[in-house]
């Protein structure tokens, strides 16, 4: 099964949009490196619509108390409700605990189209 979920020009790096893949509501994200990623548009915590959140960066884990290194701008999807952070370039893993992740879909680009498939 494969489906066109948007056109490549619909998103600039650091932007995201809602779409559909079969019966699933999904969020399509374009990361800072220009690649596209797609996830179920539903936070694993309490089901908030992730597309209403923010694609942004995050303070990196650090060994130095009091230090904020805000990096990966455009690669971190934060939930609109509790602000939980997910790394779109790492399968949607939660930053606070990598054991948890939002559901991700396979994505490819073909002829200016973004296609989700399984």
């Amino acid at each position: 099964m494969e489906e066109v979920v948007c056109r490549t020009e619909d998103l600039q790096p650091g932007e995201m949009m809602e779409s559909r893949f079969g019966k699933h509501e999904i969020v399509v994200c374009r990361a800072s490196d220009g690649h596209y990623y797609a996830f179920l548009n539903r936070c694993i915590h309490q089901g908030a619509p992730l597309s209403k959140g923010k694609l942004c960066g995050a303070p990196e884990p650090t060994d130095n108390l009091g230090e904020y290194k805000f990096e990966r701008d455009g690669d971190i999807l934060r939930c609109p409700w509790h602000g939980r952070e997910f790394d779109i370039r790492n399968k949607g893993c939660m930053l606070a605990n990598e054991k948890f992740k939002i559901k991700n879909f396979k994505v490819m680009e073909k002829n200016d189209e973004v296609i989700v498939y399984k």
Binding site: A58, D63, L65, H82, R84, E85, L95, A96
Partner: protein
């Protein structure tokens, strides 16, 4: 004398000093302030009424009339010999806490020094079972570090006592204290002083204040963990004294939940808060709530470990817990051993390990 079955390491015993006993250890002009001017700390708890002898066990008053906890031979006969302690950790009763000293760091540090010398001479070197807590005026970190350097290497000093009072010790301003602690294999013992749990004031009744002491303990655990003290000082551990432990499952769950959402604010924390607690913090049992065995065991189940709780009597205070009576009946021997001794022994690196034949 030691009860071989119990191997009790009692993690909270309050020895008591009177100012007159500190005078020989106090330099001038501090001695004069007490001797000539009757200076006293402003210990302002407005409650003396909780039990029949105030905040002490009525039978712990020394027979000659001196206050409970002030006489070693009497403590030996009533507590250490009677129960059969293997070791006891002294946690003091005089504390030059910030709220009692109002910024007079110099006097606070001098009092702490005098107290340590008195404690070493009259308690630690008089009974091999007793181990001590380094008193400091932590509100003056530089003075505190000097004092830790002065007495911290004493073989019977096992921890540094910090009051749970009106300062949050996780602030990096106080980290030189933790650096010095780590250097000397000293752990941190935290004991409430006069915790400001009622919006910085006193409630109407003692029962309100005493019920909510764990709130002050939770404040400090939360502060120490999220300020990254245990990330910066990986060998450091902290004993939360006299706040009980039944709040711990709640706090672990709450902190983990907050961390999942708010990690970005404290990116120096790289482990789940509950994991940090399990690795670095231990809790003394007293004052134990009366629980069934099932309720008691459930608490450990929710904490995910039974290795971070240590039995304490809090002698000679009114809410003393008896090692023979306070725990639910029928706990298996392995758990009793952990609570009575193993957990404390694993916590304090300076406590002697069990000999092979034992």
């Amino acid at each position: 004398m030691t009860n071989p079955k119990l191997h009790l390491i009692d993690t909270d015993i309050h020895e008591r000093v009177q100012y007159s006993q500190l005078l020989p250890y106090l330099p001038q002009p501090y001695r004069r302030y007490i001797e000539d001017c009757s200076w006293i700390q402003e210990k302002h708890m407005p409650f003396t009424q909780p039990a029949v002898a105030g905040v002490d066990r009525a039978d712990a008053v020394v027979p000659d009339g001196r206050p409970a906890g002030s006489d070693l031979p009497f403590m030996q006969s009533q507590l250490l010999d009677e129960i059969g302690h293997e070791f006891g950790i002294l946690t003091g009763a005089l504390d030059p806490s910030p709220s009692s000293m109002h910024g007079w760091y110099e006097m606070a540090t001098a009092l702490a020094s005098a107290y340590n010398d008195w404690q070493i001479e009259h308690w630690l070197e008089k009974d091999e079972r007793l181990y001590g807590s380094v008193h400091i005026a932590a509100q003056d970190p530089q003075g505190a570090v000097k004092e830790i350097e002065r007495v911290g290497s004493h073989k019977k000093m096992v921890q540094i006592l910090l009051p749970i009072d009106d300062k949050l010790w996780g602030d990096p301003y106080y980290h030189p204290i933790f650096e010095a602690a780590e250097k000397h294999d000293l752990m941190i013992g935290m004991h409430h002083n006069e915790p400001p749990v009622h919006y910085g004031k006193w409630p109407r009744y003692f029962i309100e204040w005493h019920t909510l002491i764990p709130v002050a303990h939770m404040t400090m655990v939360t502060n120490m963990v999220f300020n990254g003290v245990f990330e910066k000082f990986p060998k450091l551990k902290m004993m939360m004294i006299e706040g009980g432990f039944t709040y711990v499952p709640f706090l672990m769950r709450k902190m983990d939940q907050q961390y999942r959402d708010l990690r970005h604010e404290v990116p120096w924390i790289k482990r789940m808060p509950s994991d940090i607690i399990r690795k670095h913090i231990c809790f003394t049992t007293q004052p134990l709530e009366e629980m069934t065995k099932k309720e008691f065991l459930q608490t450990f189940e929710h904490m995910g470990t039974d290795e971070i709780v240590s039995f304490s009597t809090d002698y000679p205070h009114w809410d003393y817990d008896s090692p023979y009576e306070a725990l639910p009946k029928g706990l298996d021997e392995g758990l009793q051993r952990k609570l009575f001794s193993e957990n404390a022994r694993n916590f304090y690196p300076k406590l002697p390990q069990l000999k092979e034949e034992e």
